[in-house]
């Protein structure tokens, strides 16, 4: 809590700047419960049932039910339940706007590799075999292999293999009943308020302002901070992923954009990151050197020569607080913590 300006800037994080994520293809053991869900989505993404709107995946819903039941029991929030089920959905794929009707997507199933839908989603289910980038979501279930980036969320269940980033807030201020459930073995970043949010983030979470937020199995095992609580749930169905050694050697400093627009004052109508272009690269430290990596390009030094120790790696995704490095089989999330 930063008492000087009344906001709680809460950094729940490991002291390490990085967290390593999945090695799905290299793993010899049976997949953990969450990896099994992601594997199902990998199959569902190309299934005929998904295209025809008849997708029913009991194993995914069973995992969701198990996760919510576990959270409900430990947090004593007894009315915690899935906001929408596959059986409730009425349409598949992005629907065109109808005059006089709700402008966003309603009770719709969106399944695919990369899902980029900037409008509002209400009571929708989104399964992304890659990353999902969405606008305002309410009463939705969203699961992605990689990152989930949202404008805002409310009363939703969101799970991601790497990271969940919400540009504005989750829930409703002074009403904790509308917070979302966010689950990831990686990171959570919420740039404004989280109200009534339940966060399971093994890598850590950065939240601007917390109101009645639960941090579950999230480092550090912090005591109460403001109106947030830390809990440990031993049998929560989210496996801990082994750290890749390179994770400790990379330190993110800044994102790189094509333009220099500024994030505006919160009192301004030109607020937040609207109008700012998506980052195309990241500046990071590796050993005693500082490099810039461009998304999906080989990592080179200042003269354009490949960096030998990072020859097999590329950056595949960059958001404000995180960059994802991948060598094709392993993905490593690197927190962008600024230049000290």
């Amino acid at each position: 809590m930063n008492g000087r300006h009344g906001f709680a800037v809460l950094l729940i994080s490991t002291l390490q700047a990085t967290v390593a994520l999945a090695q799905p293809e290299a793993a010899r053991q049976p997949p953990g419960p969450f990896q099994a869900v992601l594997d199902r989505i990998h199959v569902d993404a190309t299934s005929d049932a998904a295209k025809q709107g008849t997708l029913r995946d009991e194993r995914i819903e069973a995992w969701l039910d198990q996760a919510l039941a576990s959270l409900a029991k430990e947090t004593k929030i007894t009315d915690l339940k899935l906001p929408v089920r596959l059986a409730d959905l009425q349409t598949t794929g992005v629907q065109p706007r109808r005059p006089g009707a709700f402008g966003g997507q309603l009770k719709t199933l969106l399944v695919g590799k990369y899902i980029d839908q900037s409008g509002s989603l209400q009571n929708c289910v989104v399964f992304a075999d890659g990353h999902a980038r969405l606008g305002k979501v309410e009463g939705c279930v969203i699961i992605a292999q990689g990152t989930v980036s949202l404008e805002s969320a409310r009363n939703s269940v969101i799970a991601a293999g790497q990271c969940v980033a919400i540009a504005s807030g989750d829930g409703e201020r002074r009403n904790p009943a509308n917070g979302s459930v966010i689950v990831t073995p990686g990171w959570v970043s919420i740039d404004e308020a989280a109200s009534g949010t339940l966060i399971v983030a093994h890598g850590g979470a950065f939240v601007w302002l917390t109101e009645d937020v639960f941090f579950i199995n999230s480092p550090p095992a912090a005591s109460e901070q403001g109106s947030s609580k830390s809990l440990t749930i031993a049998d929560f169905p989210l496996e801990v992923r082994p750290a890749h050694p390179i994770a400790a050697k990379l330190k993110g400093e800044s994102v790189v954009r094509v333009d220099a627009k500024r994030e505006r004052d919160r009192n301004s109508p030109l607020r937040n990151r609207n109008g700012m272009k998506e980052p195309f690269g990241v500046v990071f430290r590796h050993g005693d050197r500082r490099y810039m990596a461009t998304i999906n390009e080989a990592i080179v030094d200042e003269s354009g020569r490949p960096v030998e120790s990072l020859r097999d790696w590329k950056v595949t995704k960059v958001i404000e607080s995180l960059a994802i490095f991948s060598n094709g089989t392993t993905e490593v999330a690197v927190r962008i913590a600024g230049n000290p």
Binding site: S254, V255, A260, G275, R290, G338
Partner: protein, 336 residues
């Protein structure tokens, strides 16, 4: 809503070169002549003596404001403060300077409100607010919050605050001139002259008086013309402001990208600060190398060693489509 920046005017390219020895010495009625005098003052202590006054600088300011007042038919426009009204700053004061004379190389007054002050810099200046003050700088002048009733003159760029003047009155706008660019927020009777371009962050600028440049177009919608915006174009044929000199360094640099990081910034409510993602540097290509240059820091290579060919230079301003670098003796710019 998007942050919109409109380039209102782009005047023809400038052909002079700052380091060209064949160039004639600066003429009397130029900003460069004033900047040369400021350079002398900044390297000495004469300005700290009681009664210090530079007649040539004040004459240039009188000519600048007088020529605008005459052309705009605005006889009340005059210098807000004169050198005889100010005295050299003594020990640092908390947050406010009033009737102070401040002279130096690079002046970081980010935490200071200036009222009836005179600031002369042989480099860049950052202030929090400027009211009824005079600020002249060789490089970039940054107003972090607001300005009013001031005369602000920069060699390369004036980065104005959220607003200039005192709403809703239009009699307290500042005179803001630059050989290069002026970036400005809301304007209330602000008079602006910029050798290269005026950029406003407002979607529909109002009460902006453009000197020797066209005024922003009036808005017209399906119902016809809207209420007048109060924008004007004023022709000042004898404005004592020369063209922006080109430094050869700018031709050797290419901007590959802008680095953004979380930084703490001051909010509009002056006592508050907050974290924001803001530009903190640029990625540059220079002589076949890719360099990461942080704002205000020496330009180093990937191993952290200062690049010898760029020793003494640093990035002083990163704004939309424009990077300004400051050296010990000159400034350079790169557009992207």
């Amino acid at each position: 809503m998007k942050t919109l920046a409109f380039i209102l005017c782009l005047l023809p390219a400038i052909s002079a070169a700052a380091d060209d020895p064949k160039q004639p010495p600066p003429q009397k009625d130029t900003l460069q002549a004033v900047l040369d005098r400021i350079k002398q003052h900044a390297s000495g202590n004469a300005w700290k003596q009681p009664g210090f006054k530079d007649e040539a600088i004040e004459a240039w300011l009188d000519k600048l404001v007088g020529s605008i007042a005459k052309a705009a038919d605005f006889p009340d426009l005059q210098l807000p403060v004169r050198q005889k009204d100010v005295k050299a700053i003594g020990p640092p004061q908390p947050n406010n300077y009033e009737q102070a004379l401040i002279v130096g190389k690079d002046l970081d007054l980010t935490q200071y409100n200036l009222t009836r002050c005179v600031v002369l810099a042989d480099g860049n200046v950052e202030v929090l607010t400027a009211t009824d003050s005079i600020i002249i700088a060789r490089g970039v002048i940054g107003i972090n919050n607001f300005s009013a009733g001031s005369v602000i003159a920069a060699g390369t760029l004036v980065r104005g605050g959220d607003f200039d003047g005192k709403a809703p009155d239009t009699a307290n706008g500042s005179v803001i001139v630059s050989r290069g660019w002026v970036e400005i927020g809301k304007t209330y009777g602000t008079l602006v002259a910029a050798g290269v371009g005026i950029v406003t962050t407002e979607m529909t600028p109002k009460n902006l008086w453009c000197i020797n440049a066209p005024a922003p177009a009036e808005r017209i919608n399906a119902f016809g013309p809207q209420r007048s915006s109060g924008n004007r174009s004023i022709s000042v044929p004898n404005l004592p402001l020369e063209a922006l000199p080109l430094h050869p360094l700018g031709e050797k640099l290419k901007v590959l990208g802008v680095m953004h990081s979380r930084v703490q910034v001051r909010q509009r409510a002056l006592t508050r600060t907050a974290d924001r993602y803001q530009p903190t540097g640029v990625v540059l290509e220079f002589e076949g190398r890719r360099l990461m240059a942080e704002l205000g820091l020496p330009i180093a290579d990937e191993a952290g060693q200062i690049v010898s060919a760029l020793r003494g230079w640093r990035v002083s301003s990163v704004s939309d489509k424009l990077v300004i670098l400051s050296g010990a003796e000159a400034d350079a710019f790169v557009r992207f």
